[in-house]
Amino acid sequence: MLDTSQETRLTTSLDENVQTVKKVFKNDADFSTRSFHLFNNIPATSLFISSLVDKEKINRDIIQPLQEKRSSNNEESANSTKKDLLQSLLNDYLYFADGEKKQDLSSLLDGLLHGKTVILLDGESQYLLLDTLKTEKRSIEQPETERVVRGPRDGFIEQMESNISLLRYRLPVPEFRVEPFEVGEKTKTKVSVCYLDNVVSDALLEEVIKRIQDISIDRILDAGYIEQFIQDNPRSPFPQVQNTERPDKAVGNILEGRVIILVDGSPFALIVPAVFNQFYQTSEDYAGRTIIMSIIRVIRFLSLIFSLTFSSLYITIVSFHPEMIPAQFVVAASSGRAGVPFPVVVEVLLMEVAMEILREATIRMPQQVGGALSIVGVLVIGEAAVSAGFVSPITVVIIALSTIGSFATPSYNAAIAFRLLKFPLIILSGFIGLLGLAVGLMFIINHMISLRSFGVPYLSPVSPWNKQGFKDSLIRAPLRWLTERPAELQPKDKVRVESGVESGPTNPFKRKGENDE
């Protein structure tokens, strides 16, 4: 049915046209037609899909002005330029920002399905498309996944229009581009690529657009679908595209020369390219004091490393290198393990698997039950396992530390990558001890170094080294020292902070010509 209508033009007969459209929609409950007489004179029909439109708007802004009987001179002028009746309706009678005159059936159907109202007139093969879309949306709230102590509280929502407005509100410059695309053969999801024209590298932008245009799939139900299609290495456990719910973070990344991809229907914006550093940083880091925030970043990084290596390091030391344990501690370590029937590897694996089950269960549980479950999990299971002699108390401490470590990471997808990578490390170090741990870590490091996100090395600015970039990686240097945008993104405009600011504020209380002494 739809295939034939691609080419079809409308006829001049109103009834025929309405029948054609009705044939397409058959008897869908929300497909509505409303016949009226234009200026009490010409038969007309408005078509719309009632579930998508704002009916009040149609009544007030379309039907009412068109049904009103006009004074004769207007009517005459309308009649005299009969050929352009539709255009004159748009020009003189309808107060619509988005109105178009079209003639083919396919864009009529497309418009209807996007919440537009179609006005068909008798004797016209053309029609008017008026935007009357109204969708349900929630209010703008603080994002659940990226909480901050200090910083703006607004977050993206599902509607792309609102999200773009949140970005525009923070970036009122003409160079800010929002380029529209449509992806998904069935879902026809709107996707926008946002960037700063005078900052972003052309090569990067071209690549992003090419990758988005290459996507051919029936559905895009979330930004995650787009992410899967545009990432460089789909086999890697590491996220190569960052997502955020925070408009301030998105704008910050646009200003660094990155590209933001907004997807209609998803409250997550995608940030490309993404390097590893970004996954343990938060937007709050830039709002606080340098030293404190640098230390906090180091803590987050350490906790990520902890979550990866702590349990396997414990296995290595206890079962392969007991000579490393200080003498005073040997007694405590070995007496705790006295009644445990398994080797350390099995013990740690058991506990880690239990922890992962608890974590997953806590996410899927209804919220009211979830809190109770996590307390039950941590207190009761841990305590019971120790007193039952399944695990030693030290193991429980180690597992708890490594699990908590992964929760300190702001980005869920990076944290979970590390948390699951620890399992191969546990097994390796259970088999060949220190060598296994070192070899496993080297596999991970080598993989991360060879990984690229849109051509940018994943571990930059550490390797390949970039001194300017390092000032905003593991540490966060004072803002006035961050004079350049990240070099690995090759921005057109490199300067972020004018060098004049670098010298610092002057003392207003110092009189001219007065010396410091």
């Binding site: 090569a203 392969f320 290198h321 000579e323 490393m324 344990i325 200080p326 003498a327 005073q328 088999f431 060949i432 001890g433 220190l434 060598l435 296994g436 741990l437 070192a438 070899v439 080297m442 596999f443 490091i445 080598n446 170094i449 060879s450 051509g455 090395p457 571990l459 550490v462 390797s463 390949p464 080294w465 070099a487 690995e488 090759q490």
Partner: protein, 367 residues
């Protein structure tokens, strides 16, 4: 893609040299130097490093002359196709053998120090898997990997070796030329160092991928002397702590030094394991360099640019070479053979090439 970020920088070249030079031999090098030169080991190391330095300058000079060619490339353009290919092939064979033998040496050291009960094959296979899955990457990734590991190698060495200052006995080091110095013995010790660190030849495969190949000497010289300093530092410390006679009895003197060290605070009662981990990193980067040269060399000779395929096909050969020596003694015989007849001539080789290229008036650039 010829973006500037894809090029190797001088800093990265320096780090490639450091991490290539500090490798498997780190643990046992002092033993061989002392066996030849006795108390004069530190001084012999210095001489050995100077000899190696001459070779380094040769490769830098020829790299300046042929800015777009790798070792394989200028071999062919200087010596003509058949002879050039033969020379490249011999070089590849030397490094192929060295990769296998040093992997075995690594496995022996692992078995002797941390994993006495585990079959050696496991550590051999683990190491081969590691460098075989990495060596087919792009040159800039190769440089990044080296860059990343250098701090992980250097910092633990310094942490472990520096506290040994407390245990130094000055009389272990005097006289500076050793007791009863003989010319042959001294040069034996010096050449042991040259053989161990002469593996920087791999830079001949990297220089054409640099941002400014003409200025490669900056990175090369800098990296060489940092690594050279570390070698002298380690040799001096082990000799000063243990003395000539003790070292002759130890196969891995540096590891013994690590066992002696305790760090203040009693966090961990022994930290030789930390030293071993950093040594494993050093071994990996060195073998990665060797294997990188092998893979790129083979691909250059046969004009076959599927690095991944070559890297995976060559890996079993390496394994075969690694398990070939019967025990650690024959292993060291093979290693000495390959490094004295393979690596040392390679240090003279660039000057030979330079002379011929000047006579034949060949100059770089043609790929």
């Amino acid at each position: 893609m010829n973006k500037p970020s894809d090029k190797v920088t001088n800093l990265q070249l320096a780090f490639i040299i450091i991490s290539t030079m500090l490798g498997v031999s780190m643990l046992g090098l002092t033993h061989f130097t002392v066996r030849g030169a006795g108390n004069a080991a530190p001084f012999a190391s210095l001489v050995g490093i100077f000899i190696a330095f001459i070779g380094l300058m040769g490769y830098v000079l020829i790299g300046r002359r042929f800015t777009k060619d790798t070792l394989v490339g200028y071999n062919e353009s200087i010596l003509g196709k058949p002879i050039g290919r033969l020379c490249s092939f011999l070089i590849v064979i030397v490094f192929l053998a060295l990769t296998g033998l040093e992997t075995r040496q690594f496995a022996e050291a692992v078995q002797g120090s941390i994993l006495p009960n585990t079959p050696m094959h496991i550590s051999i296979i683990a190491m081969i898997l590691l460098f075989a899955t990495t060596s087919f990457q792009r040159v800039d990734t190769f440089a990044s990997i080296h860059f990343f590991y250098v701090p992980l190698i250097l910092i633990p060495i310094i942490i472990v070796v520096a506290p040994a200052f407390r245990d130094i006995e000055i009389y272990h080091m005097t006289p500076i030329l050793g007791n009863d110095p003989t010319w042959g013995g001294f040069m034996n010790g010096a050449l042991a160092v040259t053989q161990a660190i002469g593996n920087f030849v791999v830079i001949a495969m990297v220089i054409p991928f640099m941002k400014y190949p003409k200025k490669s000497w900056k990175g090369a010289v800098g990296g060489f002397w940092i690594a050279g300093f570390i070698v002298i530092f380690m040799t001096t410390m082990t000799v000063a702590v243990f003395g000539e006679n003790e070292i002759k009895k130890m196969y891995w003197p540096l590891l013994n030094l690590g066992r002696m060290i305790t760090i203040p605070g009693e966090v961990l009662s022994r930290i030789d394991a930390v030293l071993l981990v950093s040594w494993v990193y050093g071994v990996f980067t060195t073998l990665l360099s060797y294997y990188f040269l092998v893979v790129r060399g083979v691909c250059g000779i046969f004009r076959f640019h599927h690095y991944r395929v070559v890297s995976l096909i060559t890996a079993p050969i390496i394994y075969g070479i690694a398990i070939f020596p019967r025990d650690i003694y024959t292993l060291y015989d093979y290693i000495r053979m390959f490094s004295s007849y393979g690596v040392v001539p390679l240090l003279v080789y660039p000057f030979f090439l330079l002379c011929i290229s000047i006579i034949r008036k060949k100059k770089g650039g043609s790929v």
